[in-house]
């Protein structure tokens, strides 16, 4: 959904990132980490806010799963 437009203020763009690609994404900053603790569907070890993922060549082919609920 991404309601807040990339401000790490809503948690509605929560996604699960394919495990084998997960470490290729830079670690979340504190704001994102906090928001991931408050998502509608439970945080998993591979949880991220999609608005903070910059797509690079290293992520070519990555599979992203949307959680059951984002609100």
């Amino acid at each position: 959904m991404a309601e807040c437009g990339g401000n790490m203020a809503c948690g509605t763009c929560h996604v699960y990132v394919q495990q084998s690609y997960f470490s290729r994404i830079p670690e979340p900053e504190e704001m994102e980490d906090q928001m991931l603790d408050a998502t509608a569907s439970a945080r998993q070890p591979n949880s991220r806010l999609s608005c903070q993922i910059i797509i690079t060549a290293a992520l070519d082919g990555v599979e992203i799963t949307c959680p059951e609920s984002q609100i």
Binding site: M1, E3, G6, N7, C10, Q34, M35, T39
Partner: protein, 405 residues
Amino acid sequence: MAGLTKVSAAAPPVLDIDPFATRYLENPYHFHEVLRGAGPIVHIPKYDMYAVGRYAEVQSAFADWKNFSSAAGTGLGHVQKGSALRTPGPIVEADPPEHTKLRSTLNRILSPAVIRGWRDDFEAEAERRVAAIVQRGEFDAVTDLVEPFILRVLPDAMGLDDEGRENLLPIGDLTGNALGPRNDLFIESERRVEPLLPWFNSKFERAAMLPGGFGEKIWQASDTGDIETEKVMPLIRTFLRGGIDTGVSGISSMIWLLACNPEQWSALKAEPKLVRQAFDEALRLETPAQSLFRTTRGSFAFAGCQLDDDVKVMCCLAAANRDPAQWADADNYNVKRSTIGHIAFGTGIHVCIGQMVARLEGEAILAALLRHTEILEMNGPARHKLSNTARRLAALPIRVGRKAN
């Protein structure tokens, strides 16, 4: 020395108007167009301020807290010097690093998980009010529905008792006016609030907070040292000043836009899952906080212009949200539009902390209206309240009911 010519960018173009003149406040869309058309950033001599209204520049200014500081206040008045001198607000009017830790603590207190916990209460309240009011067939959506709803749910969530809640409306009105110049609108709204201040100030006290509310949680954060004690009362004041009138404004505007655009109401009837989008689209078009201010820190180049140090910058979120360079059919209300990136809640480190509360309020009211009425139409002219920086309906006569067969 040869080759060391420093080329300075030119000063911003001059826009010689008064954005707070009645004719612009009455017709903000005209002002938005004038502002966007005059340049990426302009200088307005009457207030010796800069102003930005194009999406790209408003977005950049809000993203750049180092050059565009909030610490001198987010209104036109410079709170660090001159006649507007006062203690800056603890969260809204602070830059990093002071801002960072406090914001992080408040993010926890008002996290999406906490707000989801309020959903049942907000929805039950919306259901109860809407079910009762549609029985009447005709009503004023602002005074009969949205104001009482917001005055119920938000102070309840904070943990405020019932007495005197209606005072929060003139206090919200003052907030919108006080961000502008000290004109008649400002002075008049200040005069109305003056006698309410003893009541208002008593509501920040720890003893005033009912158990379980987020007001109590803010106080508790001062016990653990996460919030400095002297910041607690100003913080609670910030929430009460900023969270009531803006919510009333956004939801009223949404009902207004739906009543004026029957095909959008029908689209929503056919696809009720668009309720949250319908609310955000209303915020884009009728941005409750039309403008907020920043202050330049140092002299620097911005959008091809050279800016001076310590000058106020009026950032017109409402103009950016209607910028045709950003939005196709910018002036049309379209519940199917992707509204991602609208900046009615601001953007950057100061982005509205209550935005998920506002969305929950808007969703609860609209979903209840969709359940209870087939038609939603105007029943007379809508009227706006003039304000220096707020877009706020004062009267919204509505007719509801079943379709005639």
